[in-house]
């Protein structure tokens, strides 16, 4: 048994135990902490499996942003927690849920373990066709060129999510600012951190976007980091959430899928098909323009999704 195998077993055991603890935790806050810890440890597994782009996304979304979303939800649900605790489902419901979960997990495990060896995959074809765009990162090639349609539609899904969250606003708060106004002591530690960290975070976010062309990274991971930095500034009370009725805000929100669509239609008019890019020297600037638009949209969308539904009317 090599040292590497022992390492993998330790890693798997830690993550599994953390997952079990998160589910078994009694308090909401404890469970949220467990969930964030889990989201920050799973990237280790992804890196071990050589899937660094997935590790970046897991760290950004599962670790940071997902945990904050759950915390905000837990804070809002706290007044109604006694009432929900009184409604715990009966033993039969919980046993059937456990049984169904075990069967699904067993089916997934069987599907993965019974894959033929070598497993059928298009990865070598994706790597071999990197000359189609001139980018070296095969994941970016798949996302932005070979399956660009999926990526574009995902951005539209983000837009629909934001519309869904906004639709929870009361009539009075429609078009207003999401969430409460955060406050922190102006000479305190939190404000200090919120002044020092975001510039570094913004540089890192843009770097991750830029390096996604040839190394693991990309628009989504970079946008998540930018969203986290924006939310940090909001949480320290240094700036307020934007009014969701603002025109510039809505322009940024549709910029990502919008630019993607325009480039796609350009491919239809000047090229062979929808979303067809020109030959390699010209494909990269186009992809870069799309990614810049996408990163702004993703950062603003994720930030607004975590800020919540508008609660204060714009004048307040």
């Amino acid at each position: 048994m090599t040292v590497a195998t022992i390492l993998e077993m330790v890693l798997a055991a830690v993550v599994l135990a953390l997952g079990v603890w998160t589910i078994a935790a009694r308090e909401t806050f404890a469970a949220t902490v467990g969930y964030v810890a889990y989201g920050l440890l799973v990237p280790l597994i992804w890196v071990r499996l050589d899937a660094v782009d997935v590790a970046l996304t897991e760290a950004a979304i599962g670790g940071g942003l997902g945990g904050v979303l759950l915390l905000g939800a837990a804070a809002r649900l706290r007044p109604s927690e006694p009432a929900t605790a009184a409604e715990t489902p009966g033993k039969i419901v919980r046993l059937s849920a456990a049984g169904a979960s075990v069967m699904i997990a067993a089916a997934l495990a069987a599907a993965v373990l019974l894959l033929p060896d070598p497993a059928p995959t298009l990865a070598p074809a994706a790597v071999a066709n990197a000359s189609a765009t001139g980018l070296a990162n095969p994941v970016t090639n798949v996302l932005m060129a070979f399956r660009a349609m999926d990526t574009m539609l995902e951005k539209v899904v983000l837009l629909l999510a934001i519309v869904g969250v906004w639709s929870l606003a009361s009539d009075r708060a429609w078009g207003g600012r999401p969430g409460p106004r955060h406050q922190a002591g102006p000479h305190g530690v939190l404000v200090f951190l919120a002044r020092l960290l975001p510039p570094v975070g913004i540089v890192v976010g843009i770097y991750i976007l830029w390096t996604g062309a040839n190394h693991p990274g990309g628009a989504f991971q970079g946008g998540s980091i930018l969203a986290a930095m924006w939310l940090l500034v909001i949480m320290a009370g240094l700036t307020d959430t934007p009014a969701v009725g603002g025109r510039w805000l809505r322009l940024v929100l549709i910029a990502g899928p919008g630019v993607f669509l325009i480039v796609g239609l350009g491919g239809l008019c000047f090229g062979p098909a929808f979303l067809a890019y020109p030959l390699p020297p010209h494909a990269k600037p186009l992809i870069l323009i799309i990614e810049v638009a996408m990163v702004s949209t993703i950062a603003v969308t994720l930030g607004l999704l975590l800020a919540g539904a508008p609660e204060r009317s714009d004048q307040g």
């Binding site: 935790a25 806050f29 404890a30 964030v36 050589d50 590790a55 760290a59 002591g185 530690v189 951190l193």
Partner: protein, 96 residues
């Protein structure tokens, strides 16, 4: 060298696991807030070692992301999802 680094990585992971057990068991919310801080340092060390062991230099980018997001998560924990942070004013504690 690779075996040594792998052993060091496994050791640090085991320390991380022990630390998590202690933190998550802790009686109050303040103890649990340390979890993101623990992973922010232990997890980064483990990830950097993992990058060196498996020969994946991009692991440092993941470590950079985790550093930023773990800090962000820690602050969110301290605020507990609330808009106010009572304990933050520089002169408000009794350390005169």
């Amino acid at each position: 060298m690779t075996e040594f680094l792998t052993a060091a990585l496994g050791f640090i992971l085991a320390m991380l696991a022990l630390g998590l057990v202690s933190i998550l068991r802790g009686p109050g919310d303040a103890d649990r807030m340390m979890a993101a801080q623990l992973i922010g340092t232990g997890g980064i060390a483990a990830l950097l070692l993992l990058g060196a062991v498996t020969g994946v230099p991009a692991a440092t980018d993941v470590a950079l992301t985790i550093a930023l997001l773990a800090t962000f998560a820690s602050i969110a924990f301290v605020k507990k999802g609330l808009p106010q942070l009572d304990a933050d004013e520089a002169g408000s504690t009794e350390d005169r």
